[in-house]
Symmetry: D3
Subunit: 159 residues, 6 copies
């Protein structure tokens, strides 16, 4: 077991994927912002026409996915061919779950792009609401599923 | 209680802070990457000279803090005057805690910059280790403390 | 009358403003996207809850304003302290007018930031609607008003 | 007729083009900067060796085309394979027409890249000349022609 | 003999490579930072666990390679498939040689990406050490080798 | 003697300059591109109206200076208030010397900005001419002079 992002002398590198084939790849990631009930209520009201927090987070998430290679040092640049984000509001635990699905046809996967989309969308929700609730936390940013490439399919819960 | 990032008609805007004073501001944020024990062991070994995962995450976190205004749509650009990140390895819960401290002298706070530094550093750890552990999760990204500005000091746990 | 962005030998430069004072500065710019009546109707419907074209353009315009110094070669970087955009839908000429107001406290003005915000917002409207109307045109991008700095106030129509 | 940049619930997304074929694509866009006769004369003089406004705009336009995916939220990143800009000076209406031609081999078209190149070049002309003429306006940014992709050829004036 | 980055009227352009084939391409570049013996000793100590200058330069060089198309106006964007940097410390002339190897599969070569990686890594070494040695110089940034594309192999020393 | 960009445990950080005063700062850096005599002749011809290599390098250098904080990991963002570049063509050694002067009013110096401007301008010359001369080398990138800040004036050759 080794960390592929380092060479034999331990120096960080962008792994050489020149010889890999281009395959269709999809990755799905999620994360959750937990907040005060009043904050969730404010966001929900926004959905009905005034102050659309999730609309802004949506745009931020899509744009963030495209910037992944600029943020994560050893990530390969990729031509994303699809990015979408979905939100689920949960009144029991006063949270919003963000789910991002990213696709490409390329030599490496889009796991980092999906995780970055979720992170940037969640941070944007924090930013838009921090004037009323600084105690929000971002939880459980994780990869749910990915397909494509030599390592094939991964689903959360797989060994 | 209202979301200041929207105007009266509900349109998103960058809040006008022209009339605010420049004050010294500091924000501290944290987050945690939970992983397999083997992954934590690999990272620890890297610290001893080969494949320094946290060294790469360090650079990514500092650079990420500087890009906050590009990622979070309604964030004001700021001249950061200090960014540092610290890591704590926890063998009981197989996790690494990232803590970022960001300072500036400016008209708005650096909460988002500290939260972004933590997020980007944590995502970088994920990226560097995902070849051996795709099940890692990023937990509890949150603001610990901030000082400066009209709203003064916030410490986690405050009402 | 001379172009200040060139030195005496004709080479482009970023004008030296080191000795200028920081003053409060505001600039207002506008532009207009002219389209088919069906396209305008689609956008209006979006405002009522599905497919919010202007919401996306809003975010793009604010983020575009912050990137002005990266796009316009001789522009000085500035710490924008406020950016807002407004839209007026005009059914007579089937157009949408975008108006951007940008503020800062700095050594140079924010005219280019306001004009860039308008341009990026208008291009975003084009992008969001081009599947149904490639014939849209962007018209009359212009500075309406600016204040602050040694040259003082400019209002469109002034000599 | 629908806006493809939104999903069925009205949320903005980057349209999924994973299954589309890569084809050769070209787009041509234009725009016009209208100015005072003295401003046009100054720019023309620059062309003859001192203060080359259009030379700077040329570089800005090419670099702007490459940044389209960073500016326009739902634009796909693309590997541009050619960008050129041409200028026509018109003494009758005291204007400069910018024309940009952008090519790629890819899954989506380069209309937005051509329109962005024109916009950034025109804004750069404004910036370089604004010390002598703040009344300039940018007019008629539009797509002239595009080829490639499933929707085939579009020429301005087509139904 | 002509400069391909200009059209027949002398205007700069991004050369049209639409019709070129994608081939595997590799480029190797080097450069050297010459410094005071004490500075070299400090960097060497850092390698042994405190203040890892070359570790930071490594990350900067990889990230710099990915930004080449943003920095060099007429460079084509490319999907880099591998970037690595190596350092050789030379105690005779008190210097560090940086060597970068960049690969891609694409329509144009990665010479500029390798030269940019070297330049950014060398500038980062300067930045990290300038508090103790402002007299460092960066020497002999050059292309050592490149392969792929229609012009084939180039090795330094070739006619 | 210590490297300020690391904390006591050896971790890289952006040095905290919050408490420093803003002073006027200027830095001058130079570098040299050595080439074949035919290449220098081609560039000189360009200056007379066709294919202006140095005009493009000029724009690249100014824009590169503004991107320094994005390229050099531990650099502080700064509001540059002036950037200019000058070129000297030397027929004896077939070289072009680039000199960059950068100014700001800020808490840290602009040495890295001047060195980056020179590097990016030199790389751009390489890029524009590499079709005819791949053997060019970039030499002697160095700081000539800097003023401002607590450490005061530095001139090359000072002890």
């Amino acid at each position: 077991m080794e960390l592929t992002h380092f060479d034999q002398s331990g120096k960080a590198r962008m792994v050489d994927v020149t010889e890999k084939n281009e395959t269709k790849r999809v990755a799905v990631a999620t994360g959750r912002i937990v907040m005060q009930p009043e904050t969730l209520a404010l966001i929900r009201r926004g959905e009905m026409g005034k102050g659309d927090v999730l609309g802004v987070a949506q745009v931020a998430g899509v744009m963030g996915a495209k910037k992944t290679w600029e943020l994560i040092p050893m990530c390969h640049p990729l031509l994303l061919t699809g990015v979408k984000l979905d939100y689920t509001l949960n009144d029991t635990e006063n949270s919003i779950t963000v789910q991002a699905t990213v696709s490409t046809t390329g030599k490496t996967g889009v796991e980092m792009e999906a995780l970055t989309a979720v992170s940037v969308a969640a941070l944007t929700v924090y930013d838009m609401c921090k004037a009323v609730d600084k105690s929000m936390t971002i939880e459980s940013i994780q990869l749910l599923h990915k397909s494509g490439g030599k390592s094939g399919i991964y689903s959360r819960g797989d060994k």
